[in-house]
């Protein structure tokens, strides 16, 4: 049995011609998140990054949704509750402002709606089939506190 393939992967085999040191071993499977040299992405916004096709950012899970959040800018106070707790990196915030929902990555969990503190809420869940403008046109008005 030939062990040739292992040479390229830097695995040391008895009798192999080229022996490599512990700090020269290359990975078994490696996926690069970005094209070319990876900058520290902490300093780049999503739109400034050179994403590789391997990065799940380039994929979508939109088909998971049966309900979706709709965002109403008129009531939003930019508190960023929805940003911190969205499990799918789907709240687009730039310069302390909430800009909207990334519908490619949102799974429709509804967490953002639950943590939105405004009255009425600035985010509400609707059927995936509902038109966003229609949803906004029928937005509920402020709920009065019921006194017991």
């Amino acid at each position: 049995m030939s062990l040739q393939g292992n040479d390229n992967r830097g695995i040391r085999e008895l009798g192999a011609e080229k022996k490599v040191g512990w700090d020269e071993v290359t990975q078994g499977v490696a996926l690069n998140s970005f094209v070319g040299e990876s900058e520290n992405s902490a300093f780049l916004k999503a739109e400034e990054r050179n994403y590789n096709d391997f990065n799940s950012y380039t994929a979508t899970v939109a088909s998971w949704r049966i309900i979706k959040p709709v965002y109403n800018r008129d009531i939003c106070i930019d508190c960023q509750n929805c940003w911190i707790w969205c499990p799918d990196t789907s709240i687009i915030s730039r310069d302390k402002q909430m800009l909207g929902i990334d519908y490619d990555h949102c799974k429709g969990c509804g967490v953002c709606v639950e943590v939105c503190p405004t009255n009425p809420k600035s985010l509400l869940m609707f059927s995936e089939a509902k038109d966003n403008n229609e949803a906004l046109a029928g937005w509920p008005v402020k709920e009065k506190k019921v006194k017991n």
């Binding site: 520290n40 994929a59 869940m125």
Partner: protein
Amino acid sequence: MAITSVKNLKEFSTNNDRFEGAHLLCPGCAHSMIVRELMNCTDDNLVISSNTGCLEVSTAVYPYTSWDTSWIHIGFENAATAVTGAEAMYKARKRKGTLKDPDAPVKFVAFGGDGSTYDIGFQWLSGAMERGHDFTYICLDNENYANTGGQRSSATPIGATTSTAQAGTHSYGKKEKKKDIVSIMAAHGSPYVAQLAPNKWKSMAKGFQKALETEGPCFINTVSACTTEWKFDPKDTIHVTDLATDSLMFPIYEIIEGHELNILYRPKNIISVEDYLGAQGRYKHLFKPQNRHVIEQIQKDIDDNWARLQRREEARI
């Protein structure tokens, strides 16, 4: 180190997320809330490892990766081993002068589920802590082996029903109590250990930053509400976590150098544990008359633990 501001959420939100969407974790899963926050609380380069579990299988589905930083997975039990190996290599190469950018700040972080942390990867974690590597281990504690269908782990609380400790006519679910992993890790002489929760985002971010800044092996147990196995509506992840911290089922605290215990969250109104248990399907059977005694036991354990934590905070020993 380049820690980012956590003064308020608006400032925190100016960070550029390094954990990408279209991972395959369940809708409403708290694992990703915790991972996103860790990656947002520093601008440093990160070298991250994960044990096998929901986080790992959902963020590295070939041909995709959801990680914008270096990330490695080897096996179920060895996230601690993998990342401390990388840390040792990094230090050696720094000494040899073979690093391309020796001044770039780097932090080493391992993520493990409770199954891999409390049980199967326990000796590997213990070894890494004892060797004293400069890294932070974060346990995503959802109190069960979620990725394989919800088996009981030693982090599963007494009374919860799981696929291998099922409640039925003769059983109220798991019989044994949850392992106190925070004390065990503090006993390793770790300079910083803590228990944190994503609903209390600020104390979680500050705790993460402390662990990253502290030299040596740090350990953090995070409460990770699991909509699928705890059986609650995905929209309620933060609500259920609020009930967990307000009932003191999950007290939020840190232990510095093994003795300086600080309670990081004191609920204004401590709620009954019934409110927490009642919000989840996995505890439904406890409300039957014949199982009520288990709820009483859980409440008593919580009260005793809270008294113990407060005494330790005062005594500083």
